[in-house]
């Protein structure tokens, strides 16, 4: 099938990047400031500061490790500088060894080996500078749209998210998946009450069982947390803005939320920190926090995130374009500088749902080919946030 094309960067392992940046990744929070200083010194690099990497055990530490490795492997990054402290539990060596099989440019700087943070920032800056100059020579090439993987996440939802923004994104997602691309739904805390509908869309019985299992497990985990909470104010699954926007229960929010996955069949359910083995519509097992969702999706290989927001949120992701879509015409008027697509035109009657779905799809192709999303232009990078196990 002759599909649509975009202009991307071919990586050593054959994957397709939509950005050509250098990632500066600390293995532990103690190295975060050095990573940030390196990124400040080298335009075209981004840093991934986080609060974890030590004093963790078991699944919690493993998710941190797999996620940081996955981010480093993401094809939007031409090279990676790993920054370690030297005594942390998640070692910089393990982080670098996880990224190395991609064949991309890779260097490691360890603060305690260099001597101090000033010296480590200097060494790291030299590495990042070299990588950035080499990366700058690489040209964009024509690639099949089927090489794209997009993350789906909605935040600051209101009624219009479920009415227009999510269904329109679902149309774009279906079009991408029909051409061999991948699309990742997550936010299991906000799929509660829709599992019977999603399971009917599974490609086989195993995937149907996986869908029912992961959503059930997430609901049980939430029940345990709220039942042991002594604070009545801390038990709500949906936020005050959701309520103000007209959503009255998590099931009502979920029914609107799942619509961004369109009507395609689910081909795989995969764990947080992992990369999927199939291409097509995927379900990533993770909670509903915007940053935790998109971080898991980027670690899985998503080059772009599509983000409906009824109430309006400006957040973005380091090195990965986040395309903001609102179904609320009032929100678009107020937050034009932050929102890429106005799906509120369906509410006002200016456009059909099909037209806005196509508008989102075309925007994905443009952004994949280099157009900056508004969150990128404004430097928003708040979403990098690794999930924790309770």
């Amino acid at each position: 099938m002759m599909g649509d094309k975009f202009l991307g960067f071919r990586r050593e392992n054959g994957s397709a990047g939509v950005r050509n940046l250098i990632a500066i990744i600390p293995s532990v929070f103690c190295a975060a400031k050095v990573a940030q200083r390196i990124a400040q010194n080298v335009p075209g690099s981004v840093h991934f500061s986080h609060p974890v990497g030590c004093s963790q055990v078991g699944d919690d530490l493993d998710i941190t490790a797999k996620t940081l490795i996955g981010v480093g492997r993401n094809p939007n990054f031409a090279g990676v500088v790993v920054v370690g402290l030297g005594c942390e539990r998640f070692t910089p060596l393990e982080l670098a060894q996880g990224i190395a099989p991609t064949g991309k440019m890779l260097e490691t700087v360890v603060i305690q080996d260099v001597g101090d943070s000033i010296g480590a920032a200097e060494v790291g800056t030299r590495y990042a500078r070299q990588m950035q100059q080499i990366a700058s020579e690489q040209k964009r090439e024509e690639m099949d749209v089927g090489e794209l993987m997009i993350g789906l996440n909605c935040g600051g939802s209101d009624t219009t998210s479920g009415l227009v923004a999510n269904p329109a994104l679902g149309l774009a997602s279906d079009k991408l998946v029909a051409q061999g691309g991948s699309s990742i739904l997550t936010e299991l805390t906000e799929l509660i009450g829709t599992e019977h509908i999603l399971a009917r869309r599974a490609i086989n019985g195993q995937v149907a069982q996986d869908i029912l299992r992961v959503i059930h497990n997430m609901e049980e985990r939430l029940k345990r947390q709220t039942q042991t909470s002594r604070n009545e104010k801390r038990k709500n699954l949906i936020s005050t803005g959701n309520y103000d926007g007209g959503l009255s229960s998590v099931v009502e929010k979920s029914l609107g939320g799942m619509k961004k996955s369109g009507n395609a069949q689910f081909v795989e359910v995969f764990a947080y920190g992992d990369a999927p083995t199939q291409r097509g519509l995927l379900l990533l097992d993770g909670p509903g926090h915007d940053g935790e969702v998109t971080t898991g999706q980027v670690a899985a290989g998503a080059q772009i995130v599509c983000f409906p927001t009824g109430r309006g949120t400006p957040s973005g992701f380091p090195g990965v374009p986040v395309i903001k879509i609102t179904g609320n015409p009032r929100t678009y008027e107020r937050m034009k500088e932050n929102i890429d697509i106005n799906a509120g035109t369906v509410i006002t009657g200016e456009k059909s749902l099909q037209q806005v779905g196509e508008e989102i799809y075309q925007e994905i192709l443009k952004v994949a080919s280099g157009k900056l999303s508004k969150a990128e232009v404004l430097g928003h990078d708040e979403q990098f946030c690794i999930t924790r196990m309770p």
């Binding site: 209101d158 009624t159 219009t160 479920g162 009415l163 227009v164 269904p167 805390t189 509660i192 009450g193 829709t194 509908i197 609901e219 939430l222 029940k223 709220t226 038990k235 709500n236 699954l237 949906i238 309520y243 926007g245 007209g246 009255s248 229960s249 998590v250 099931v251 009502e252 979920s254 029914l255 609107g256 009824g310 609320n328 009032r330 369906v346 509410i347 006002t348 009657g349 200016e350 456009k351 059909s352 749902l353 099909q354 037209q355």
Partner: protein, 104 residues
């Protein structure tokens, strides 16, 4: 909801029914108590309906009289049940509905 049905929802005093099974409509404008609004069904059919409370943009109102524990249907699915009885045209939100799933 097909594209044809979504087109032309502009203008004041409109509301939307998303599925034939639904017993609520979603306000597409701020509606005041006593307002006559035009409700568009999933099929595209339209009729006038009077709301009996103030309904903010994006919020729901009852299309029929509701009794305690009656299920509330939106998108053709149960989204919760009534905590209290409510006359036709009344506002349904967290103050008068509950949902056991997800604890709220």
């Amino acid at each position: 909801m097909s594209e044809q049905e979504m087109v032309g929802l502009a203008g004041s005093k409109r509301a939307l029914i998303l599925d034939p099974k639904d017993n609520v409509a979603v306000a597409l404008a701020d509606l005041s108590n006593g307002d006559e609004c035009q409700v568009t069904e999933d099929s595209g059919a339209r009729y006038n309906f009077q709301v009996t409370e103030t309904i903010p943009f994006g919020h729901k109102f009852a299309l029929t009289e509701m009794n305690v524990d009656d299920p509330i249907f939106k998108y053709g699915e149960e989204i919760g049940r009534m905590k209290t009885a409510l006359p036709k045209g009344g506002w349904i939100h967290v103050h008068n509905m509950y949902c056991d799933r997800g604890l709220k």
